[in-house]
């Protein structure tokens, strides 16, 4: 019996080891490649540990890629989308959490539906619409398109948090004739700050990662976010692979850090939308 237990334990650690290698290797390889010299990458073979002494070389290479401008555009797109989807999402979340009204079921169904609609389905009509309104090739247009998908998620996360706030807390304010909008902004929202932060991170990184809309709607290089800029390295060979991986790493690190920080909240948000719809 103890022998069997020991074997099981060893097997379990072996399994964990294999999983860690499978999950971690691509990121490790991205960092190692970024810190390699190009002569190694295409010639003799890559050194399999990160060569930190090549950091200045990587820094010099990254200087030749407009990664700063791309990240700045990404930041604008992500921040704009976050503000808009949180504003609209908290209004919708409050309505769904606190009121029974005609059409409530329909609203819930429509919000749920946005979660199964592929972005590509509205790509063509949005393109036509943006031509009409002069929104093609503008960051504003891109943000407006992105928010259609991040707003429902924000709504689900915030509604869930508001459901947990007891009605009694806002009751006295309502009796004192405080307008409901004031109740939302001054009483409810301050109470659900952690969920607002979570919804903000989800919306922010939805905009940060977005590629399909950005690559279709933005033609000018100076408007490109990092996702489109990085994708432009595919199939071209002037940029050294170490610089490509370095840029990808710079683009990934904020996402990795924030996803790890609020992982549980993200899962709760994504699944709540799918369950309660």
């Amino acid at each position: 019996m103890p022998f069997k237990k020991l074997t099981l334990k060893l097997l379990r650690y072996l399994l964990i080891g294999v999983l860690v290698v499978l999950a971690g290797f691509p990121v490790y390889w991205m960092a190692t490649t970024a810190l390699s010299l190009n002569s190694e990458l295409y010639g003799s073979g890559q050194v399999i540990w990160p060569q930190v002494q090549n950091l200045p070389e990587l820094w010099r290479e990254l200087g030749q890629v407009p990664i700063g401008l791309w990240l700045f555009n990404t930041l604008l797109i992500a921040a704009g989308g976050t503000v808009l989807s949180l504003t609209l999402g908290s209004l919708a979340g409050y309505a769904l959490s606190r009121f029974r009204f005609h059409g409530r079921g329909l609203v819930g169904f429509l919000l749920f539906m946005t979660q199964v609609v592929p972005e590509a389905l509205i790509l063509v009509p949005l393109y036509a619409m943006f031509i009409t309104f002069g929104l093609l090739n503008s960051l504003t247009g891109l943000v407006l398109a992105n928010v259609g998908f991040s707003l429902p998620v924000a709504c689900f996360v915030l509604k869930g948090a508001m459901d947990a706030v007891p009605y009694e807390i806002e009751e006295s304010a309502i009796i004192d004739n405080c307008p409901r909008f004031g109740v939302l902004t001054m009483i409810i929202l301050p109470l659900i700050m952690p969920s607002i932060a979570a919804a903000a991170v989800v919306a922010f990184f939805a905009g940060w990662n977005e590629f399909l809309f950005a690559s279709t709607f933005l033609m000018d290089r100076e408007n490109w976010p990092a996702s489109v800029g990085l994708a432009s390295f595919v199939g071209q060979y002037e940029t050294p692979m170490s610089a490509v991986m370095g840029a990808a790493l710079v683009f990934s690190i904020p996402a990795i850090v924030f996803f790890l920080l609020i992982q549980r909240k993200i899962v709760a948000g994504l699944t709540a939308g799918a369950v309660k719809g």
Partner: protein, 299 residues
């Protein structure tokens, strides 16, 4: 709703003041485009003048259903989605079970296992493209070292879909793991202990005690992974561009290519309509499963 006893005409309008702005937004930027897309599939709209297409009835659909490329695309979409669910969910559940019980370094292991989910899609595509690189990629360096020779990971009709699936599984398994880990916390520890004391082995304890608790989580994760696979564009587009010979051109890749490389917006919209039917079918399935579960829980 407790407490709201006063119901005048004014207060009845209050909820609409909150719900209308977001709903109008979605009407303009989500549902109107969806409806327009359905209409466009009945026109011969070209990209040169996207707002002026002529109504041609079911012409696009007739062409679509006569085109072998369409069936190839449909097949690629379904095979990709089903296999992503099978492998992504299995690996996710295995990971969750492996790190459920505490051990030294669990927090770090857990963080590393989440990498694939956290890395942005475009960055993930670039890493894997480099790893799949024909001459210098790490996979071919390894297979050459082992004496197996080089493999055309992304350019052979047999391997391309599998190579993309590997990336997909790397990305979705961590999410499944998180959902299942959350569900595992609801398994009463005492029940598991009791089963073990009664002489039940690991496997039967898992089947009788653990599995019923995490089954709803697994179902939910499967549906989400399926929906995401049908939506996924970036990694397929960047890794293979839908090739070789259409073996990885899922419906969403096909929509983008027909519209912006083939310049036929009407035809692209017809592909979109098929995608919408597929998405709605899965949503309906999801809804049905959810209803049944609610009933089961309230019994």
């Amino acid at each position: 709703m407790t407490g709201s006893k006063i119901r005048s005409g004014m207060t009845r309008l209050v909820p609409y003041a909150f719900i209308l702005p977001p709903m109008i937004y979605l009407m303009v930027f989500m549902f109107w485009p969806l409806a327009r897309q359905m209409y466009m599939s009945l026109t011969n709209t070209r990209i040169i003048n996207p707002n002026r297409g002529r109504f041609i009835g079911l012409g696009n659909y007739e062409r679509l259903f006569d085109d072998p490329a369409f069936y190839l695309s449909l097949k690629a979409t379904l095979v990709y989605a089903v296999l992503a669910v099978v492998f992504g969910v299995s690996l996710g559940v295995i990971s969750a079970l492996a790190i459920d019980r505490p051990f030294k370094g669990r927090a770090i292991v857990r963080a590393i296992l989440l990498f694939g989910w956290a890395v942005p899609n475009v960055a993930a595509s670039l890493i894997w493209l480099w790893m799949y690189n024909d001459r210098s990629g790490v996979f071919n360096r390894m297979t050459e070292f082992l004496g197996l020779g080089r493999f055309p990971w992304l350019t052979s009709t047999e391997l391309a879909l599998g190579s993309i699936l590997a990336v997909t599984v790397w990305q979705v398994a961590p999410f499944v793991m998180l959902v299942v880990l959350a569900a595992l916390q609801s398994v009463p520890h005492e029940v598991r202990e009791a089963a073990r004391i009664d002489g039940a082995d690991e496997l039967s304890t898992f089947r009788a005690v653990t599995l019923p608790h995490i089954r709803p989580a697994i179902q939910l994760a499967s549906l989400l992974v399926c929906v995401w696979s049908i939506r996924r564009f970036d990694i397929i587009y960047l890794l293979t561009g839908g090739g070789p010979v259409g073996t990885t051109s899922t419906l969403v890749v096909k929509i983008r290519q027909t519209a912006f490389e083939g310049h036929e917006l009407g035809m692209a919209s017809a592909y979109g309509a098929v995608g919408l039917v597929l998405a709605l079918a899965i949503a309906a399935l999801h809804y049905a499963v959810e209803q049944r579960r609610m009933k089961w829980m309230s019994r």
